[in-house]
């Protein structure tokens, strides 16, 4: 009886899609336990290889950050030595002390924060109003205007920069005798509207059920108070995403501030970083330690922002992909 059972085999050849599978317990001569074990081992090996692949690439991803950090803690002799060390021989903070004295971190920081706050507030205001109009109100020409807005999203920003520079110059914000206020205006005003964020928020507003609007109307609320009392709180996650992305954008802005300012005191943090010559006064050698200390100072605030608002940042960036 037992012998007979071992000789039976299941033939999948007639039913398998590829027509190439013959599953035979008898022919292989292995028990089901052995097959299970084999499968387990091969799965283990695959998982191990997958982890190895991911870990190697993850290390490659982090390596620049690690190198930035340890270089900022090294002495210049050690940085320029022929044998590189993967951990500083002496951990020293003098690079940071020097950089905080030479690199006007405070000035750039203040400029960046002022520009970031005002452009974010402006963007939020214009975005909320426009998204509300596009999502909730019905009026003639709405869809046409929205279509035009969407079309502008496809046009590369470089097309606009040239004329925007001329426009800003004609407002008297750029050129000889530029004051700090002029510089701020030139850095803020062109960026207090973003078609992409309007689109993002409109999609979010559209998801808010119509019944809420009708209920608010029955209760005698105006559109205006409905927007601020109901819709804005409901769309808060998206608004937070927009705020953070806008902040990050200002922190990373390089081209435009460089273009519209004449005095380096009016520029933002990225400009300060690339514009400063981290050179030793006596020997004229580039001090990589100073450079890296400055980059650490610029990178750390972004990392802190990321640590605290990881969810919002990743959702804000990812939302773009889902909506395509």
């Amino acid at each position: 009886m037992a012998k007979q059972a071992s000789k039976t085999y299941i033939d999948f050849a007639s039913t398998s899609v590829n027509g190439d599978i013959v599953l035979s317990l008898e022919e292989s001569g292995r028990t089901t336990e052995a097959i299970h074990r084999g499968e387990k081992i091969s799965r283990g090996i695959t998982t191990f290889l997958t982890y190895l692949f991911i870990l190697i690439l993850a290390l490659a991803m982090i390596f620049p950050f690690y190198w930035m950090l340890i270089t900022s803690l090294k002495q210049n002799d050690e940085i320029l030595a022929t044998t590189q060390t993967f951990f500083p021989r002496i951990v020293m903070w003098s690079n940071y002390v020097h950089v905080l004295q030479v690199f006007r971190f405070g000035t750039y920081m203040r400029n960046t924060i002022v520009v970031a706050i005002f452009s974010t507030i402006g963007t939020l205001l214009t975005t909320i109003l426009a998204a509300f109009a596009f999502a909730r109100l019905k009026f003639a020409g709405r869809d046409a205007v929205f279509a035009i807005f969407l079309m502008t999203m496809m046009i590369p920003g470089e097309m606009m920069v040239i004329s925007n520079y001329i426009t800003v110059a004609s407002f008297g914000w750029v050129g000889e005798g530029q004051t700090l206020t002029d510089a701020y205006l030139a850095e803020i005003v062109p960026f207090i509207v973003s078609v992409f964020y309007i689109y993002l928020l409109r999609q979010n507003f559209k998801q808010i059920p119509n019944e809420l609007y009708l209920a608010a109307k029955v209760d005698g609320k105006s559109d205006w108070s409905f927007l601020w009392k109901v819709m804005v709180p409901l769309a808060a996650p998206t608004l937070i995403s927009i705020t953070i992305l806008k902040f990050m954008g200002t922190w990373n802005a390089y081209i435009w501030p460089n273009l519209v300012t004449t005095n380096s005191d009016y520029r933002l943090i990225s400009n300060g970083l690339r514009g400063s010559a981290f050179v030793d006064v006596d020997s004229g050698v580039t001090e990589y330690g100073y450079q890296m200390a400055a980059t650490v100072l610029v990178t750390v605030p972004l990392f802190l922002l990321f640590v605290f608002f990881r969810k919002y940042i990743m959702r804000g960036v990812g939302r773009a992909g889902i909506k395509g």
Binding site: I54, T126, F149, I155, E158, M160, S163, L273, T299, G318
Partner: protein, 500 residues
């Protein structure tokens, strides 16, 4: 219906020559070209017309006789548009004629699309005349308004009062202003009556424009006007941005940046054609391909592992939240002559400072790939998590190989995300600028000194922006057209390959 379609297709291919399908395709392309050209020309015309009008208004204020619009700029552009649109008209007429003859040979009635095309041709065929009419109309309107304003507002005020006696109106003599008092609305909704709330309140809500007003003003000033203006500057001769003066329209800016012609003073542009264009294309094709493939592998691997998935995903997202300039400086330290990369690989290659053009591409491409992977992983991973597990179970039953599962199941299912990534990253790579500044601190491997051998098209635009505005604008239009072509190609390919 389908059978008829099929038979006509067969007949079309049998008759030889131009089949109906080919004609329809060509006709469609022609239609889109016509639309695009129409929009561009309308923009340029309106712009030229408005600047001309400003001049006439100015002359009127100076009590000079009104000049007729016979300036060379005007005539040149008019001639161009006339010829182009006329050529298009001839082409369209020829196509329609051909198509009709095909229909006749097949004993078929033309379908709706054919008629629609014929109607569009009738309307747009006379587009030069239409444009002329619009310009003339605006001109007349402006002159009229100016003259009436000068003739005296008393007359207008009197007429206004006589025509509309129902208004309680007055005329402020001192300030030359109409004072208009409007009576309250007659019909008010009865109290305690709630009906058709949405229809009455939300429809035709003129307040919508109020909500939109700030955005429309900003978009008009900083998005739409610059777009038209940049196209205009790209075609303007001897444009000076400070005064806005120019001597007519020309194609010379384009031929100059492409190295085909020289300037009047003998200046000859070589950097754009020898550095900017090849660099931009190499960067785009290398970085987009490498980073998309890597991101695909990483996200598939991340999706398959049981533990630490969230943590590793965060690690891979880190490069997204960095300052491009700062990390560029880090990469230049990594790839320094005495840097860690040379130390690990025991080489003495000069990667960044003083490097050869194509050697310097290596750190640059690595840096761009490093910086662009996070976004792609995020998108691909969210796509992977939405994939139905049944596909993989079916593949397992058929004992499909890992390789086959990846390319026959995962990639086709992810194709919408991949298309999105490809489009955004191709556009992004064509606009490469910040990474170069971060890595090289200038347009070339010698920083601010030396030849700009790492220049890209966008770098060229920014370098020439304030000194040679017209050339920068021409380069921007050039870039725009390239991006448009590539996006269109991607969409056409996606029609066949993307499965939604």
């Amino acid at each position: 219906m389908e059978s008829i379609e099929k038979t006509t297709q067969n007949q079309g291919s049998q008759t030889g020559g131009l089949s109906r399908r080919v004609l329809q395709k060509v006709g469609k392309i022609e239609l889109w070209v016509r639309y695009a050209l129409g929009v561009i020309f309308l923009g340029v015309f309106l712009y030229a017309n408005i600047s001309l009008n400003q001049k006439t208004a100015h002359d009127l204020a100076q009590a000079v006789p009104v000049p007729t619009p016979d300036e060379p700029l005007y005539q040149e552009t008019l001639l161009w548009s006339f010829l182009l649109l006329l050529a298009l008209d001839v082409l369209a007429l020829y196509l329609l004629y051909k198509e009709q003859s095909v229909y006749r040979s097949e004993k078929m009635h033309p379908d709706g699309r054919f008629l629609a095309r014929a109607i569009v041709l009738c309307l747009c065929g006379c587009s030069p005349i239409g444009v002329l009419c619009i310009i003339y109309y605006i001109q007349q309107k402006r002159l009229l308004a100016f003259q009436t304003a000068q003739d005296g507002q008393n007359e207008a005020a009197k007429m206004f009062r006589e025509e509309r006696p129902s208004y309680v109106a007055g005329y402020d003599e001192a300030n030359h202003r109409m004072i208009r008092l409007v009576a309250p609305k007659k019909h008010r909704a009865a109290p305690y009556q709630v009906r058709g709330i949405e229809d009455v309140v939300a429809k035709n809500n003129w307040k919508g424009w109020l909500y939109l007003a700030p955005v429309i003003v900003l978009v008009a000033v900083f998005l739409i006007y610059p777009l038209i203006n940049t196209v205009f500057i790209a075609f303007a001769k001897n444009y000076q941005y400070a005064s806005g003066a120019f001597d007519g329209l020309t194609l010379r800016n384009f031929t100059y940046i492409l190295g085909l012609t020289t300037k009047a003073n003998g200046a000859h542009e070589t950097y754009f054609i020898s550095y900017a264009i090849p660099n931009t294309f190499v960067l785009t094709f290398v970085t987009v391909a490498v980073s998309t493939l890597l991101a695909l592998f990483i996200s598939v691997a991340l999706n398959s592992i049981p533990k630490f998935q969230k943590f590793l995903q965060t690690v891979f997202f880190l490069p997204y939240v960095t300052n491009a300039i700062a990390v560029g400086m880090v990469f230049s330290v990594l790839f320094d002559d005495n840097g860690v990369i040379n130390y690990i690989f025991h080489s003495t290659t000069r990667w960044v400072y003083g490097a050869d053009q194509w050697v310097a591409m290596v750190p640059l491409c690595l840096y761009i790939v490093w910086g662009s992977i996070p976004f792609k992983i995020l998108i691909l991973l969210s796509g992977l998590q939405g994939v139905d597990k049944q596909y993989y179970q079916a593949a397992q039953i058929d004992s499909a190989s890992r390789h086959k599962v990846l390319w026959k199941i995962t990639v086709p299912l992810l194709s919408p995300q991949i298309l999105y990534i490809m489009i955004t990253s191709v556009i992004g790579a064509f606009k490469e600028y910040t990474h170069i500044v971060g890595l090289f601190n200038g347009p070339g491997t010698l920083g601010q000194a030396g030849t700009p051998n790492m220049e890209t098209i966008v770098y060229y635009i920014y370098q020439n922006l304030s000194t040679n505005t017209s050339e920068a604008a021409a380069a921007a239009v050039f870039l725009f057209v390239i991006i448009l072509i590539f996006t269109a190609i991607q969409f056409v390919v996606s029609k066949k390959r993307v499965h939604y």
